[in-house]
């Protein structure tokens, strides 16, 4: 229990820390944002004055920070100049789309990496391992950008898959089954790109974790007891490898989120990525901060989830933290 509280505290600390850093950026960034905005003819001087008053730029930093956090908690994430609307609702839709993409990719990537990693670790150094190693090396050397673009080029040339967007124009008029199918078809390319870019490292780490467990004396003892191979793998080895694997899971959330940023832009998937990019180019300050915060929340939440899983899966952590 203490462990969970500690992890919760840690997550909270991270969120607070990131929020402070983000806030400091806005307050201290070279080239006052509002000065730059003044140069933008679309934003009238009255808007700027109103915003300055609203964000109380004349008050000391800690007060502004408190104010900012206060409005964040109330769901007010600021105002987007480009879209002329509050930030939160815009971000929420985009965040949902990113989440959809990332979760799908996560499931698929782990679904492939776990069996392949285990298979590879089993035949460590022998043919299956070598094939898998070659495959992962081959994927690793292709930079993510090249991978995404390459898939896009292939899709365009073959004309089979849609090359952008989340749904077709005729989405609304489709049946439920049609809608799901449409979504899946649009998901295919981005998910494939994301999975392929994350797969090599994932497989390697799974392989390493499982291989290490397979070497353990307790497993050899169990083998000596005549326990069948399959049971050995799935009921003895895999649970023992739970600690590094679950930690890897937490870590992979971060890499997938980063990857999704690029792939969303390249493949025109309407997630946080393209939105963030637009905001940066348009100097839409509060959207940028909002986007950063959202991605951090996902990452921290995902890692906390991993911590929970770890608590449930690894008895050592339960006993260690409960004993005094």
């Amino acid at each position: 229990m203490r462990y969970l509280l500690r992890r919760l505290g840690h997550a909270a600390f991270l969120l607070v820390g990131v929020s402070v850093v983000s806030f400091l950026f806005t307050a201290l960034a070279p080239g006052n944002y509002f000065d730059e905005m003044r140069l933008n003819p679309q934003i009238g001087p009255e808007t700027i004055a109103a915003l300055r008053a609203q964000y109380q730029l004349d008050r000391p930093l800690p007060a502004r920070y408190a104010n900012w956090v206060g409005s964040l908690v109330r769901g007010n994430m600021g105002f987007s100049f480009a879209y002329n609307s509050p930030v939160a609702p815009l971000l929420l839709i985009r965040a949902r789309n990113t989440l959809l993409l990332t979760v799908a990719a996560m499931l698929l990537a782990w679904g492939i990496a776990l069996p392949l990693g285990v298979w590879s670790a089993e035949g460590f150094g022998r043919l299956p391992d070598k094939i898998v190693s070659l495959g992962t090396a081959g994927l690793l050397v292709i930079p993510d950008l090249a991978l995404a673009l390459g898939l896009l080029v292939l899709a365009v040339r073959s004309g089979r898959l849609p090359t952008g967007g989340m749904v077709s124009l005729s989405f609304e008029s489709l049946s439920l089954f049609g809608k799901v199918r449409d979504l899946l078809v649009h998901l295919a390319l981005p998910v494939a790109a994301l999975v392929l870019s994350a797969l090599p490292l994932l497989i390697r780490h799974v392989r390493a974790a499982v291989a290490e467990v397979l070497d353990a004396p307790f497993l050899q003892a169990a083998e000596g007891h005549g326990i069948p191979r399959r049971t050995l793998l799935y009921r003895y080895a895999l649970p023992a490898a739970a600690n590094p694997l679950i930690s890897l899971f937490g870590f992979s959330i971060g890499t997938l989120l980063s990857g999704s940023l690029l792939i969303e832009v390249v493949m025109s998937w309407p997630g946080l990525g393209p939105f963030l990019l637009e905001a940066i180019l348009a100097r839409d300050l509060y959207v940028v901060i909002g986007g950063i915060l959202f991605s951090t929340i996902f990452l921290v939440a995902g890692n906390f989830l991993a911590d929970l899983l770890l608590y449930w899966a690894d008895p050592r952590i339960r006993t260690e933290s409960n004993s005094r």
Binding site: V141, V153, G254, L281, E320
Partner: protein, 351 residues
């Protein structure tokens, strides 16, 4: 760190590859900003040894491309005018290593321009832009990795050696950086800096930003090495001779980190090259007309280009050998050591 066998092989491979971007003027037939507006989006020219009449030529040649009659995107070679490829020609002027004026190119042609990788929307030679762009991208990657490793080394050494509050504080701070997905962090940092700056400033800006993002992981690794190194007997013995902290760090402890730093370098450089490419691709990096590997691919963001001029993708494939080199070297360096383990203890720290 011994340079033996496979390691030496990979190193030589990498050095050779980098030679093409250290001396881009020599390897590239043209200046990257030389435009030829009459020939936009040409596909790559094929190298022939047999001409249309079936004669064999010892010297390779290409056919200049022209638009097919009645089409706006199909090109064909003009078989009436084969253009030979000559090697070690005197071509456009360039500056060797930025200072020495030079005119020698690896290969070139006499009248018509040769586009081995095709041309972009302004008619600029993609191959030349690839070599010059590699200079920018690779240099950004190397410099960025250098900054990150330096930062990581300092932070890790201080945290590991002095322990206590300093250590706890620095590690918590590093966790903040690890808590953000790195590309988001990169974008955020980039966002808060002026957008439209000159190419040189943009370059250093990006390098600084990239370097500032990734220091957390190397710092933790260095810290681990320092923690175990400072308990070693030979460090204690040196203390027994009256050595100061600085001496112990510099002469005994930090040399232990060399293998970790080298392995990290082989991982970080490709990652940072990718970061620069991503930024430039999206318009947040090195601006036109300076070529970078990201810029080269930027035109692919337009659907029309993707469909009709798909060969603009080819430079991306040429980048792969560089990554192969770094990966190969990295895996050779890591061979002797355990794979990087990610494990958590009940304290929630990464082991």
């Amino acid at each position: 760190m011994s340079l033996r066998g496979a390691r030496l092989g990979w190193l030589i491979f990498l050095v050779l590859l980098h030679a093409t971007v250290i001396f881009p003027g020599f390897f590239a037939p043209y200046d990257p900003s030389e435009q030829d507006r009459k020939n936009p989006y040409l596909p790559p020219m094929r190298i022939h040894f047999l001409d249309a009449q079936g004669h064999f030529h010892a010297r390779p040649f290409v056919y200049p491309l022209q638009l097919r009659q009645g089409s706006f995107d199909q090109s064909e070679g003009n078989t009436a005018k084969p253009v030979s490829l000559k090697f070690f020609v005197r071509g456009t002027r360039y500056q060797l290593l930025g200072i020495i004026p030079f005119r020698l190119h690896l290969f070139g042609t006499e009248d018509e321009r040769v586009y081995l990788l095709g041309s972009d929307s302004f008619g600029r030679d993609q191959l030349s832009r690839f070599f010059y762009g590699g200079q920018v991208s690779l240099f950004a990657g190397l410099l960025g990795a250098g900054i990150t490793l330096l930062l990581g080394l300092c932070v890790g050494a201080i945290a590991g050696y002095y322990g206590g509050w300093t250590d706890a504080l620095l590690m918590r701070f590093s966790e903040l950086f690890l808590a953000l997905p790195w590309l988001y962090l990169l974008f955020a940092l980039r966002a808060f800096l002026p957008l439209s700056v000159g190419p040189l400033q943009a370059f250093f800006l990006i390098v600084a930003v990239i370097g500032a993002v990734g220091w957390a992981r190397p710092a933790r690794l260095v810290r681990g090495v320092v923690l175990s190194a400072k308990e070693r007997d030979f460090v204690r013995a040196a203390r027994g001779f009256g050595a100061t902290d600085a001496y112990l760090l510099c002469r005994h402890i930090l040399p232990e980190t060399s293998s970790v730093l080298l392995t990290q370098a082989t991982i970080l450089v490709p990652q940072f090259v990718l970061a620069e490419m991503t930024l430039s691709f999206l318009g947040l990096g090195v601006p036109e007309p300076v070529p970078s590997w990201g810029n080269l691919l930027a035109s692919l963001q337009q659907y029309s280009v993707l469909v009709t001029y798909w060969w603009m993708y080819l430079p991306a494939l040429l980048i792969v050998p560089f990554f192969v080199g770094y990966l190969g070297l990295g895996s050779e360096l890591q061979e002797r050591r355990e794979p990087y383990k990610i494990e958590r203890t009940s304290l929630g720290n990464f082991a």
